[in-house]
């Protein structure tokens, strides 16, 4: 059902045999950091799909904004007072979540982290499921090198708000292009992870550097925003790269508005996480990190992915 | 202390505001054991003088001497520490706090640990009020009291300070005869105990009764200094205005027989109870009564502010039911409220915006204002009513009280209102402005409009009304021709109600 797990760092693995489910039908809380990102909803769809197949109960609880760490901790606290058997969580602040998750582990709940590649979570947990962010964006850099060869390229970067995700993704891209002198990163600004921010950032960097050839953004929303800016300025020739494989991002690629993205298949990630969690509750999960695959999708690839709508959330707006 | 050595002395005090010299080298000596009247037209600089003494404003030049030595009164706290208590013209009570707290605002009785001693706050406050023969609960929230009661609380604040110098800036503007008499009594007692008192009022009758010496200001300058033995109102007026004024009450009789407004047994939850009267075309119907007798409430009932719980109002023979002020205004009623500052003026507008505010419909076609017409119409009103020429140049907060009052009345001249309710229309305005308001009343009635005049100034009420209704506890006790009543009738009506209520409640 999922790739073989890689062991977590020394001391980061909570013992699987200490998990003591208390419900006949497993009751599982899915707690992503925010509802504002489609991405986590897509993971949730994967989780729900498996839950339906396996006949377990799952509910989602998350604050609206990813910045509302305090709100998320309040929700975890509220969940701890309930009889849930497992928590599948993602967070923008693992150190904040650690003390609460420690309690969850002590209570015998299975605790699995989603959308992460952290091998050394500050408190021992049972499993981690996610793709390697650095590897993903490294790959898209490799793809760009392969596709555009030695052509001199002026590159603009739209970062997310400062933090782990932005650092990893931008870092992976920069690692990837390192040593290729024809890639010249001339500007890098914050696009606040959202479409509006990406649009404003795109507008402004294209004003400041009208000769840009390529923009890389740390997620699909921002590159979609930037694509409108490029179009408005008559720059349909510019190479636009994103990260996520969000349905909307894929559709924009299929429509030719965005060039390519790192498809991280959130739906499949959710499936893998749910299988791992159920296995953990049944004592058959060995522990460790499951690295879910990523791929680089350009126009043809995106269309191919969109042709399998059952693996996507939200559904594409039309048939491909 | 030597009786002739001044307690406080102003030497060559000057104060300027942008564009006006409010005080121009003013010298005043304030003695202990003396009530000193500071008089003059609106805007002549009385309040500004007072502000320098109470530390609200620093004089631009000149000196203030205390017991002959120059002092710096840098802020109100310093003034208080030097023994000056001030009753300001603008109310300085805090509406959300209790009466007791207001009386001791800024220096509440506290225990040795600095903890507020609530028992003493209320007992001490009650003692001050009792001394003033005022019957107000110290626990009452001040904002809910009537304007007059608030003014009494204001005075109680000053009394409670036990200061050596008390300054009162128009303390009686919202008071009735009974309260004024009691206040005078209290001030005389304090004077006799050695307190110096500086007193500002536009009610010249009371000035005559209480003041020992006067200083008169005109355009910021002293035009007559103290030291007179006899206070003569006529001379004062001449000195104030700069010319001899013939008739103080230029009354015209314009009443016709036609009844335009009729109240039949109206009552409201605010205390109006079975009120009936008729108002005729061109008539001035006066409402007389003591503070809190409910005259304002009758006005509110007629104007649709308070809902009627009984009775009806008949306008030009047709019963009307106003659901709010708008209905009343549409039907041709107008109200000049007793508190023009809070309820009357738009301080963000110049004269024109204020004058036309009630008649925008008249100026508008398809929702668009005819600004040329507005300009012409207001200019002619400004000329007719002799409103300050500055009225169109600045927003109205810069005008003197008299000019402000004229603007509020001008608003209803410009409108088509046929019935005007004037609630204390001459409160706080100088003699010249008062006469202007009386002339306005005449002009209105000559034009066939009718007026309900509420006034606590008995002379004014008797002189300017055609008929007078005496109001007691929210109901009309008697309606008579003004000519058949005199000052004593009104005072007696006031006295009986005022005392009865007090005694009853003092026992309880």
């Amino acid at each position: 059902d999922y790739p073989a797990p890689v062991p977590l760092a020394e001391g980061a693995q909570a013992p699987i045999d200490a998990i003591t489910p208390r419900n006949e039908t497993f009751r599982i809380a899915y707690m992503p950091p925010a509802t504002e990102f489609n991405y986590y909803i897509a993971i949730g769809e994967g989780i729900k799909a498996v839950a339906a197949e396996e006949g377990v109960e799952v509910f989602m609880l998350a604050p609206q904004s990813g910045a509302d760490i305090n709100g998320q901790m309040g929700m975890i606290q509220d969940v701890l007072t309930q009889d849930v058997d497992a928590i599948v969580f993602g967070t923008h602040d693992e150190f904040a979540a650690a003390p609460l998750l420690k309690q969850a582990v002590e209570k015998g709940m299975a605790v699995v982290m989603i959308n992460s590649d952290i091998p050394n979570f500050p408190t021992p947990i049972h499993g981690v499921v996610g793709y390697s962010q650095r590897n993903g964006t490294h790959k898209i850099a490799d793809w760009a090198i392969e596709t555009y060869g030695d052509k001199p390229l002026k590159v603009g970067i739209i970062e997310g708000q400062p933090g782990y995700h932005s650092t990893e993704r931008v870092g992976g891209f920069l690692d990837g292009i390192e040593g290729n002198e024809n890639f010249d990163v001339v500007v890098s600004i914050d696009g606040k992870w959202n479409v509006e921010g990406g649009n404003t950032a795109g507008m402004d960097i294209l004003q400041a550097h009208p000769d840009l050839d390529m923009i890389f953004a740390a997620n699909d929303y921002m590159i979609i925003g930037a694509s409108y800016a490029a179009k408005a300025l008559g720059r349909s020739d510019i190479v636009l790269l994103g990260n996520d494989g969000d349905t909307s991002g894929l559709e924009e690629i299929a429509a030719g508005n965005v060039t390519a993205t790192v498809n991280t298949s959130p739906f499949l990630m959710g499936r893998a996480a749910m299988h791992a969690t159920i296995d953990a509750l049944q004592g058959s999960y060995p522990g460790g990190w499951i690295e879910t695959p990523t791929s680089i999708e350009d126009k043809d690839g995106a269309i191919a992915v969109l042709q399998e709508p059952e693996k996507l959330f939200p559904q594409p707006s039309r048939e491909y | 202390m030597n009786a002739s050595a001044p307690l406080w002395e102003f030497v060559d005090i000057s104060n300027a505001y942008p564009g006006v010299l409010a005080n121009d080298s003013v010298c005043i000596k304030l003695l202990a054991r003396s009530i000193h009247g500071l008089l003059g037209e609106n805007g002549c600089g009385k309040s500004t003088m007072i502000k320098t003494l109470s530390g609200v404003k620093q004089p631009d030049s000149g000196q203030i001497l205390k017991d002959g030595r120059p002092v710096q009164i840098s802020d109100p706290q310093v003034a208080r520490a030097m023994g000056i208590a001030t009753v300001f013209q603008e109310f300085s009570i805090v509406p959300t706090l209790s009466v007791g707290e207001n009386i001791f605002l800024g220096n509440m009785p506290r225990s040795s640990l600095g903890v507020v001693d609530w028992k003493r706050v209320h007992s001490d406050a009650a003692a001050v009020l009792a001394e003033m023969e005022v019957d107000i609960s110290t626990e009452a929230i001040t904002g809910q009291l009537s304007v007059g009661e608030q003014q009494l609380v204001e005075i109680a604040k000053a009394v409670a300070m036990r200061a050596s110098m008390i300054v009162l800036d128009e303390p009686t503007a919202a008071l009735g005869e009974g309260e004024i008499e009691r206040l005078h009594q209290l001030l005389r007692t304090m004077r006799d105990k050695g307190t110096g008192i500086l007193y500002v009022s536009h009610r010249l009758d009371e000035v005559e009764r209480i003041v020992d010496e006067v200083t008169i200001l005109r355009n910021g300058r002293v035009v007559r200094a103290s030291g007179e033995t006899e206070i003569n109102v006529r001379e004062i007026v001449t000195a104030m205005v700069g010319e001899d004024i013939g008739e103080h009450y230029p009354k015209e009789r314009n009443a016709e027989d036609e009844v335009v407004l009729e109240a039949r047994g109206i009552a409201t939850n605010a205390g109006v109870n079975n009120v009936s009267f008729e108002l005729r075309r061109g008539e001035v119907l006066g409402l007389g009564g003591v503070l809190g007798s409910g005259r304002t409430e009758i006005a509110r009932a007629l104007f649709g502010t308070d809902d009627l719980t009984a009775g009806r109002v008949v306008l030009n023979g047709r019963p009307v039911a106003f659901r709010g002020e708008m209905d009343a205004i549409r039907a041709g009623l107008a109200l000049v409220p007793e508190n023009r500052k809070f309820d009357g003026l738009f301080f963000n507008f110049r004269a024109s915006g204020n004058i036309t505010a009630a008649s925008l419909g008249k100026l508008a076609r398809l929702g668009l204002l005819d600004l040329k017409r507005e300009e012409r119409a207001t200019q002619s009103l400004i000329d007719d009513l002799e409103i300050s020429a500055q009225a169109e140049e600045k927003t109205v907060n810069f005008l003197s009280g008299g000019n402000q009052q004229k603007i509020v009345i001008a608003r209803w001249l410009f409108s088509n209102a046929g019935i005007l309710i004037l609630d204390e229309p001459t409160q706080g305005i100088d003699i010249g402005a008062k006469i202007a308001v009386y002339n306005l009343i005449n002009e209105l009635t000559r034009d066939g409009r009718s007026i309900i005049l509420i006034s606590s100034d008995h002379d004014e009420l008797l002189a300017m009304s055609d008929r007078i209704a005496v109001v007691q506890h929210g109901t009309i006790r008697r309606i008579a021709n003004a000519a058949e009543l005199d000052h004593d009738d009104l005072v007696r009506a006031s006295a009986s109600t005022g005392r009865n209520r007090e005694e009853g409640e003092a026992l309880a």
Partner: protein, 333 residues
């Protein structure tokens, strides 16, 4: 005309000129024609919404709801276009009506329910975003209609369309505030509501109308936002209400109500956007942008408040008399 271009515009205009000069001198591509038309795009949404926010402020209210209302309206708009199949020419007027109705709801609760607008619009700020999240599982809806983008990015005689929207709506607003009965009544209600009641102005109705105007202008902003991003999202418009209020405030509108010039708000919005654009062109981090924006708000209001002192100072230096208008500003503000 004299009425519309009055002395209240001098301060905000001076601020705008100074800021533009500084940015132009320090930033290479600022005066680039491309960037100037970019500016009119950047400023358009917040400036249009700020018309409503300012008119609410003139009537002594405050509107905190516009950002969330944008989110809600873009979602409804997106649903109509993409899932219900309402044609664009119909969907746009429907959204404008929806905005006006939401404004009416807020206005009625505020004016007739006698609840301070800070509270009603705070509640709306929270609830509207919640409502926006109930649609489409809280997910954004992309790629609405190919005909939508030109509403924002389109040009006429080489000038971006949003420039014309600004001219139209600000012209209309300035005209209304200065020459119509309604405009005068709004200022009267903001200046002294008690007096307005006693002069027969329907204070509650006027207050409610200001929120209807605000809702309508927010809907205009929402349509442009959707056109700009060809999408609807429950996350759009965050802190937009604060930006709109900031534009009004930098333009010199007094939060106490009763005074201010609507055109000054446009200048305020432009000042803010030019500074942000200058910082973006110089790739300044968002931290610096925030700090600068905070300081601009403070300075703009500070200069307005200290007009008397400043003009007295100028007068002393130049030997002229301080101007009375400035003193008036202080008092009535």
């Amino acid at each position: 005309m004299k009425r519309i271009f009055d002395a209240q515009l001098i301060g905000p205009f001076a601020a705008l000129v100074i800021v533009s000069l500084v940015v132009a001198l320090t930033t290479e591509r600022f005066l680039n024609p491309g960037n100037l038309s970019n500016l009119s795009l950047q400023v358009s949404i917040v400036a249009l919404i700020a018309i409503g926010s300012t008119i609410v402020i003139f009537a002594a209210g405050i509107d905190l709801s516009s950002g969330s209302m944008v989110a809600l309206l873009t979602m409804i708009f997106a649903l109509m276009l993409k899932f219900v199949g309402v044609p664009l020419v119909l969907a746009v007027p429907l959204i404008l009506v929806a905005g006006a109705l939401l404004g009416l709801l807020i206005g009625v609760i505020t004016a007739y329910g006698r609840i301070p607008s800070f509270i009603t619009t705070l509640a709306a700020l929270i609830a509207f975003r919640g409502l926006a999240l109930t649609f489409n599982n809280g997910s954004p809806i992309f790629s609405l209609d190919p005909a939508l983008e030109p509403l924002f990015y389109g040009k006429f005689v080489g000038i971006p369309l949003p420039f014309f929207y600004l001219v139209f709506f600000y012209g209309l607003a300035a005209f209304t505030m200065n020459f119509s009965k309604l405009g005068r009544e709004i200022y009267a209600v903001g200046g002294n509501p008690a007096a307005a009641v006693l002069t027969g102005i329907n204070v509650r109705k006027v207050q409610a109308i200001t929120f209807v105007i605000a809702g309508f202008m927010t809907a205009v902003g929402a349509v442009l936002m959707s056109a700009r991003l060809n999408s609807g999202s429950p996350n759009y418009g965050q802190t937009l209400e604060l930006q709109a209020i900031a534009a009004a405030v930098v333009g010199g509108a007094s939060l106490a109500g009763g005074r201010g010039n609507i055109l000054a708000t446009l200048m305020g919005a432009m000042t803010i956007v030019i500074v942000q654009n200058g910082l973006n062109l110089n790739a300044a981090p968002s931290s610096v942008q925030n700090i600068v924006l905070g300081l601009i708000i403070l300075l703009a209001v500070g200069i307005d408040m200290w007009r008397t002192e400043i003009s007295a100072l100028v007068a002393r230096v130049s030997g002229r008399k301080p101007d009375a208008e400035a003193a008036a500003g202080k008092k009535a503000g």
